[in-house]
């Protein structure tokens, strides 16, 4: 990313919370006090194990879920207070690409209507211009215009994901939440889709929140990466820095558990194994959420929840090991 792109904040998430009521006066704390900024034109990767709240976080930013507490500011305006025309405008500017290309396209709609749904809702073009727009979009994502009159079942997984991307791009968005857009695809096709996303980003100056659990792909595509654990952020840094010098014990363990595609390295490399499973987000530990699985846990970790602190410029970590 260029120096200029770094400065301008597009989206700012402040103390965002999203609780789900699960009965018996208990709440599932899917997103629990998360704060971060997304700069214009960058890709922020959001990684974590399943159930850590990364998808809920992305969806709450887009206002698919109502936030329990905290704010999401898009260009300085609180998203969750928007109404009427302003809300519709935000819904156009912030789009989403979904994980499962098989479930996220309506099987009874033609590809042209799927792609144009946003165009129609936001009254962007009609008649011949609409048709031209659809053809252009399909070509942009590497399909051809003959595909417009087909149904989703006639396409492969990679092609469907391209349709999903065309749908998101149809309304000229500024910001796209990519919720595991490649995890349902084969390795060789993953690379195709990732390359496409990057080309589109440079061409249209898009900003991405890239949610994934595939850490190597996240490193490749993201400028900065945020690591989430049980609803809270553990660490946030530039992707090169994070992968080279992870500070939080969870990040260290997570990175060390990725199997490397190199047999010699696999034989010699020392791994840090995490014991056990992720605890339930209904009754998370009072202190640091990672304390029960952490190999460097101290007494204070059980009592106080650590705050996100900027240890080095642009390197945030929430861990008592780095208390000053």
């Amino acid at each position: 990313m260029t120096e200029k792109a770094k400065k301008e904040i597009l989206l700012s998430v402040k103390n965002l919370k999203k609780y789900f009521y699960v009965g018996k006066n208990q709440y599932l704390k899917a997103v629990d006090d998360v704060s971060f900024d997304i700069y214009k034109g960058e890709t922020l990767g959001l990684v974590g194990e399943s159930g850590c709240g990364k998808s809920t976080c992305g969806r709450t930013i887009l206002r698919i879920y109502k936030a329990t507490a905290g704010t999401v500011e898009f260009e300085g305006v609180s998203v969750h207070d928007l109404k009427g025309k302003e809300l519709k405008k935000y819904n156009r500017r912030a789009q989403m690409i979904f994980q499962d290309p098989y479930a996220s396209l309506n099987p009874r709609m033609l590809v042209s209507d799927i792609v144009a749904e946003g165009i129609d809702i936001h009254n962007l073009s009609h008649g011949a211009a609409r048709k031209k727009r659809i053809d252009d979009l399909l070509e942009l994502v590497g399909l051809n215009k003959e595909h417009a009159n087909r149904f989703p079942h006639e396409f492969s997984g990679g092609q469907r994901q391209r349709i999903g991307i065309a749908r998101a791009l149809a309304v000229d968005p500024d910001f796209i939440v990519c919720d595991e857009p490649i995890s349902a695809l084969d390795v060789s096709v993953q690379a195709q889709v990732v390359n496409l996303l990057q080309e589109l980003q440079t061409e249209y100056g898009l900003t991405f929140l890239f949610i994934a659990h595939d850490l190597s792909m996240v490193k490749y595509i993201s400028d900065r990466v945020a690591v989430m654990y049980l609803g809270s952020l553990a660490e946030l840094a530039k992707s090169d820095v994070l992968y080279k010098k992870p500070l939080h014990p969870y990040t260290v363990a997570l990175l060390s558990s990725i199997p490397r595609a190199d047999p010699q390295l696999e034989k010699t490399r020392k791994r840090i194994m995490l014991e056990g499973d992720v605890p339930s987000p209904i009754n998370p530990p009072i202190g640091c959420k990672f304390v029960d699985r952490c190999n460097r846990a101290m007494d204070i970790c059980r009592e106080n929840r650590p705050e996100m602190v900027e240890i080095e410029p642009e390197h945030f970590v929430a861990c008592h090991l780095y208390d000053k």
Binding site: S188, L255, P259, P263
Partner: protein, 350 residues
């Protein structure tokens, strides 16, 4: 010389559908030795699961149809067996772990009962008390905490990683000679995946089973296997020892597959990720020649006309690509692999 435990020779399996015949596996041959781990790698639809299920004869017939070839397990011809005889082999001599631990356990039976099921039918001499002890030991062996209480719980009370452990316990309870693992870690998180892979390696040492690992994750392959078979379009395109395949691959598909995985350890560059353009061939009408020809940047006229045989590169390494023919034009190996080969040789000297 190690003992061969499994021989698959020219296996061909098709599925009859209303739209016609899908030739899922089109002539696959490989051997498996005692105590080793063989990985079968490939994209979805390349026939890797069908191959593995054929060894257990688990493909439903119809629509599956066995078209030809041989499967010799432990000196016995699997294809000639009746369904009753197969029941003796399944679970006792060959165990299988499936991809999705959420759906492949019975939700209405306790974990303990599901482990006992195999024991009861294959080792009927055990009294129920003895069987219970074996089941409990097995659960402890796969490192389930509080195994004594957990044995009476139902699958929904287990987390994803623990369900996969329970499934491994079920598969291994009769000490099978062969364990087939069909994408056992695909549905799991990386931290849990690392635990399960360690567990499988550990157990292999203890019980000395052979493992066939089906996966599309090349990192998992590097971690666990000694030999690799790469499948594409129902055929084996390359086979080699794991090290050889990673550091000296010969088939353009293997090149594409290995280079489309971004490395975690390399500093980020602005280079585009290399991808394989296009999609796998339609197995309703498989191509006459090499199945990869349409996506291959090196393809020649002969590639579309005739399927290349396996050219032997070195001992235990073969590549089904016309480029490996002695008369073929020489092509530049992608620089990534030249570098890897050099680094391996360097490491060997040190």
């Amino acid at each position: 010389m190690k003992k061969k435990i499994l021989e698959v020779e020219n296996l061909q399996v098709s599925f009859d559908t209303y739209a016609g015949e899908i030739q899922a596996v089109r002539g696959v041959s490989f051997d498996l030795f005692e105590g080793e781990t063989l990985a079968i790698v490939g994209e979805s639809g390349c026939g890797k699961s069908v191959t593995a299920k054929s060894i257990m004869r688990l493909n439903p017939e119809p629509p599956a149809r066995f078209k030809g070839g041989k499967i010799i397990f432990n000196g016995e011809d699997i294809i000639a067996k009746s369904e009753m005889e197969m029941r003796e082999i399944r679970g006792k001599n060959i165990g299988m772990i499936f991809q999705d631990p959420m759906t492949s356990l019975n939700p209405t039976m306790t974990i303990g009962k599901q482990i006992l099921e195999g024991l009861r039918s294959h080792k009927s001499t055990l009294t129920s008390k003895e069987a219970n002890i074996v089941a409990l030991d097995m659960l402890k062996l796969v490192q389930i905490p509080n195994a004594k209480e957990r044995i009476n719980e139902y699958p929904h009370q287990f987390s994803g990683g623990m369900r996969q452990r329970a499934m491994i316990a079920i598969a291994l309870v009769c000490n099978p000679k062969l364990l087939i693992a069909d994408e056992p870690t695909t549905a799991l998180d990386v931290t849990i995946q690392a635990q399960i892979l360690e567990l499988m390696k550990d157990l292999q040492k203890k019980i000395n089973t052979s493992i066939i690992m089906i996966t599309h994750d090349l990192g998992v392959v590097a971690n666990i296997s000694q030999r690799v078979v790469v499948m594409y379009g129902g055929k084996i395109v390359e086979y080699a020892d794991t090290d050889e395949l990673y550091y000296n691959p010969k088939h353009p598909y293997t090149w594409g597959l290995l280079s489309s995985v971004p490395s975690v350890d390399v500093v980020k560059t602005d280079n585009k990720l290399s991808s394989i353009e296009g999609t796998p061939p339609d197995l309703f009408a498989p191509p006459l020649g090499c199945p990869f020809a349409d996506r291959c940047e090196y393809s020649m006229k002969i590639c579309r006309e005739k399927m290349p045989p396996h050219f032997i590169i070195s001992e235990g390494h073969g590549s089904a690509c016309w480029l490996s023919h002695p008369d073929a034009p020489k092509v530049q190996t992608p620089s990534l692999f030249v570098g890897r080969k050099l680094s391996l040789e360097k490491r060997g000297e040190n």
